[in-house]
């Protein structure tokens, strides 16, 4: 399975000293995200697989592949629940 994810086109991001503020113009809700969450959302401007995202986190932080993969899955679950992913891509 090589599912790819992309962020919702109506998201706008702000990088605030590493942390992120995310606006969803579709649901008109806003969120604060951690530094690694912001890294993932920035990457999701274009379609990415879980493996792509894991690689990004490992390049950026001193984490094992298992730790990075767990973080990616957890963050993608959160994004899914908050409708932050492009429904066209996340299939």
């Amino acid at each position: 399975m090589n599912q790819r994810f992309k962020r919702h086109p109506e998201l706008r991001l702000a990088d605030v000293e590493g942390d992120g503020v995310v606006l969803h113009l579709g649901t008109r809700r806003y969120f604060s995200v951690s530094e690694s969450g912001l890294v993932i959302l920035q990457a999701l401007e274009s379609p990415q697989s879980v493996a792509d995202l894991v690689r990004r986190l490992m390049e950026r932080y001193e984490v094992t592949a298992e730790q990075a993969e767990a973080s990616v899955h957890e963050f993608l679950d959160t994004c899914r629940a908050a409708e932050l992913l492009d429904p066209e891509e996340a299939r």
């Binding site: 702000a14 605030v16 942390d19 992120g20 503020v21 606006l23 113009l25 806003y30």
Partner: protein, 305 residues
């Protein structure tokens, strides 16, 4: 052309003169190029699809394909369209709206103007503005119950320069964000007037408030503030207290009080960048306003310096 650079076009000379007087009175330092094109029509439709935002009396809808916003005022049938790519707002007023032109301008046309000003990169924030005796610019942000107007009046009476008690317009100016304001009375409820021990003022019966010009309170009106301190206020009991805010929390607060950031896809990132930039230049605090402030207004300065 009005003094603010916002042109009013209207075939009805009486309506045009009234609207030009309103815009002149705001004393907004906007550059030329914006136009309000107003038509008085026998029938005005206030039907909207895809309503994305409402404020008391005014509804906002996105035009298809991100082509701008449509606004409607139901009280006396008025509507407007502000295209995304134009420096012009088309406004349609029913005869009933013309009959209530003062109310229409204050509630509906002000909202249209807020959208139009976005076209030149002026982004609205619910905040009072002031400059303290040492020349530092302040923003006091929060909702209608946050004590912004009472604080603005108190500061004006204490010799601060004050711009507005609510309608601030943020503009990116190089590496800084500056804040423009309208010249409008500071609107106080009964409680605020009692705390300030103020009588007189201009009756604002439709709002249940009384207005005071900053100048009438002993202050000086300032049309422009370069913020160094931002406080997000709430009203407490006796003691005024301040707590520093992390920048990400401050950006989230600014988004909350600058809700227009959510409305237009083509301007949202630029608006968000302005809010973020503001937290680079200003220290941000959450402040609980207490009654002790009335004895020592400059306690605000002590708390943040």
């Amino acid at each position: 052309m009005t003094a603010t650079g916002v042109r009013v076009r209207c075939a009805d000379a009486g309506v045009r003169a009234a609207l030009e007087a309103w815009i002149d009175g705001l004393r907004l330092d906007a550059p030329p190029g914006l136009t309000l094109e107003v038509s008085v029509m026998p029938v005005v439709s206030t039907e909207l699809e895809d309503v994305v935002f409402e404020q008391p009396g005014v509804r906002f809808a996105r035009l298809p394909e991100g082509q701008g916003l449509r606004l409607a005022w139901d009280e006396a049938a008025a509507a407007a369209e502000v295209p995304a790519a134009a420096m012009l707002a088309s406004v349609w007023l029913s005869p009933a709206a013309v009959e209530r032109l003062e109310r229409c301008t204050r509630i509906f046309l002000m909202a249209v103007l807020v959208v139009l000003l976005r076209r030149i990169g002026w982004f609205h924030l619910h905040a009072a503005t002031a400059i303290d005796p040492d020349g530092r610019g302040w923003l006091v942000a929060g909702n209608a119950e946050a004590g912004k107007s009472t604080t603005a009046a108190l500061l004006a009476a204490s010799g601060w320069r004050v711009g507005t008690d609510d309608a601030a317009f943020l503009e990116r100016h190089g590496e800084r964000v500056v804040v423009h304001t309208c010249h409008a009375p500071i609107a106080l409820r009964k409680g605020g007037r009692r705390l300030l021990a103020r009588a007189g003022g201009i009756a604002l019966p439709a709002r249940g408030k009384v207005g005071f010009w900053p100048e009438d309170l002993g202050g000086v009106w300032t049309p422009l503030v370069d913020p160094e301190i931002i406080i997000f206020t709430s009203v407490g009991d006796t003691h005024t207290a301040a707590e520093p805010l992390a920048r990400s929390a401050a950006v989230a607060e600014l988004v909350r009080w600058s809700a227009w950031v959510m409305l237009e896809l083509h301007l949202a990132q630029r608006h968000l960048d302005v809010l973020t930039r503001l937290t680079h230049q200003a220290r941000c605090y959450r402040v609980t306003l207490g009654s002790d402030l009335f004895a020592r207004p400059n306690r605000l300065i002590e708390l943040v310096t």
